[in-house]
Amino acid sequence: MTEEKPLDFTREITSRLGGETITHCYQCGTCASTCPVARTTERYNPRQLIRLALLGQRDEVLKGDTIWLCASCYNCQERCPQKVEVADVIYALRNMAIREGNVPAIYMEFATGLMSEGRLAPISKFLEKKRTEYGLPPLKPANVEALKIILAATGFDKIMFKKEGASP
């Protein structure tokens, strides 16, 4: 039944790590008034994002670019009178969006760096040389093997690198 849809989506969010508190929102707008992004661009408003999610607008929330415009500064979360963990809710929404194939290019880059080097910013030959010049110790390599085991155990590798054409 169609009227079950908003609830289904809400339940999906609240059952995810980070999404638990979304239903406490009473739409006061404190988050938006304290949000550095909302104050800079009309493209983003956390109160509206939460509203859309609570209304069950699944596609609009998970397929659009709005969820990626949060700067994760936690201002909203700090000040929400209802203790909605807004920034964490947005992480939960992003986690869901990624699983549905909404993966911005920059996030694919981060994931690739993590999987291959164990770091998001691989070190260059130039920097290695500079480190020696400054008398800094050589950078110890990350334990990529252990990391890969962890990423396989959580399914991270499959979330990010599923085969072309595979269903979400």
Partner: protein, 291 residues
């Protein structure tokens, strides 16, 4: 001598050796021994949390396990690392169900999170282990009333419920540590507001607009420099001024200096011992004022 496992993270050692160099010199000089952890990985900061929160907790917990095995508390420089590791450490210590879930994942890699160690940002180490008085006694070159716009970055303070670093609305620790060095921590508009750094690479125009606000507000308040703790804030504000120049045709030339560099200079490390050439906005004006 107090020892810590130094958790460097990704960005500082690979992109900002000036931060690492200054921090190592200053902390060692102040009697803190830094031990480099074998095999440490990325801390799983917001970009990875955005992909999968559970994976991020597992990665952070893995790194905490390394410190537990070495029987050392963790010291972080980057506020992003501080946030990721502190959140994981607190959540897993305080939530048994979650700890069991993450430990099940970690067991595949032969690790178990026990919850026996602390994660500290180096400002806490300066407050708790070095102490303000001892630090003051070590200041041989006071910073001569340099007007410093303190900018801690978001993730030193928020989410305060888990980070528990300082009062999130009226923090004092960073300002205190600046003033101990003989500088002035000046008030400026929207001091606690984000630099927009995490939007770089996705929405560069918005990120730059937010960074510009930060620069303008500090500049208008008469800052000689902005002092940072986070490598992303540094990049966003230092390199950012180059981008502001081309995009907005505005030039501020406001030096961005990591606190560890100010600290080093004040306790007698010579400028030539630091890697100040890594700053896009030159810091000469600051060095002149310090004398």
């Amino acid at each position: 001598m107090t020892s810590y496992a130094l958790f460097l993270g990704c960005t500082i050692p690979a992109r900002q050796p000036h931060y690492e160099l200054a921090a190592r010199k200053a902390l060692t000089k102040l009697g803190i021994e830094l031990v480099d952890l074998e095999g440490a990985t990325c801390c799983a900061p917001p970009p990875i949390q955005s992909i999968d929160l559970e994976t991020s907790l597992a990665i952070a917990a893995y790194n905490i396990c390394l410190a537990e095995e070495a029987d050392l508390n963790i010291l972080t420089l980057c506020t992003g690392c501080f946030e990721s590791l502190t959140i994981a450490n607190r959540l897993l210590k305080e939530n048994r169900e979650l700890r069991e879930k993450i430990n099940k994942i970690l067991s595949n890699a032969g690790k178990e999170f026990k919850g026996t160690k602390e994660v500290k940002h180096y400002l806490q180490v300066l407050m708790d282990d070095v102490g303000v008085n001892h630090l003051k006694q070590n200041v041989v070159k006071p910073l001569n009333n340099l007007n410093v716009a303190a900018f801690s970055g978001c993730h030193l303070l928020r989410p305060s419920e888990l980070l528990r670093f300082d009062d999130p609305e009226r923090p004092r620790i960073f300002d205190t540590l600046i003033e101990v060095l003989g500088a002035k921590s000046i008030p400026y508009k929207n001091k606690l507001r984000c630099c927009g750094g995490l939007l770089r690479g996705y929405a560069d125009d918005i990120a730059l607009a937010i960074a510009r606000d930060k620069i303008v507000n500090a500049y208008n308040a008469g800052a000689d420099c902005i002092s940072t703790l986070c490598p992303f804030c540094f990049l966003t504000l230092d390199l950012g001024q180059m981008l502001i120049k081309t995009t907005y045709k505005e030039e501020y030339n406001l030096p961005i200096i990591h606190y560890a560099e100010l600290l080093s200079l004040s306790i007698g490390v010579e400028p030539k011992e630091l890697a100040l050439d890594f700053h896009k906005i030159k810091v000469d004006k600051v060095l002149e004022k310090i004398g």
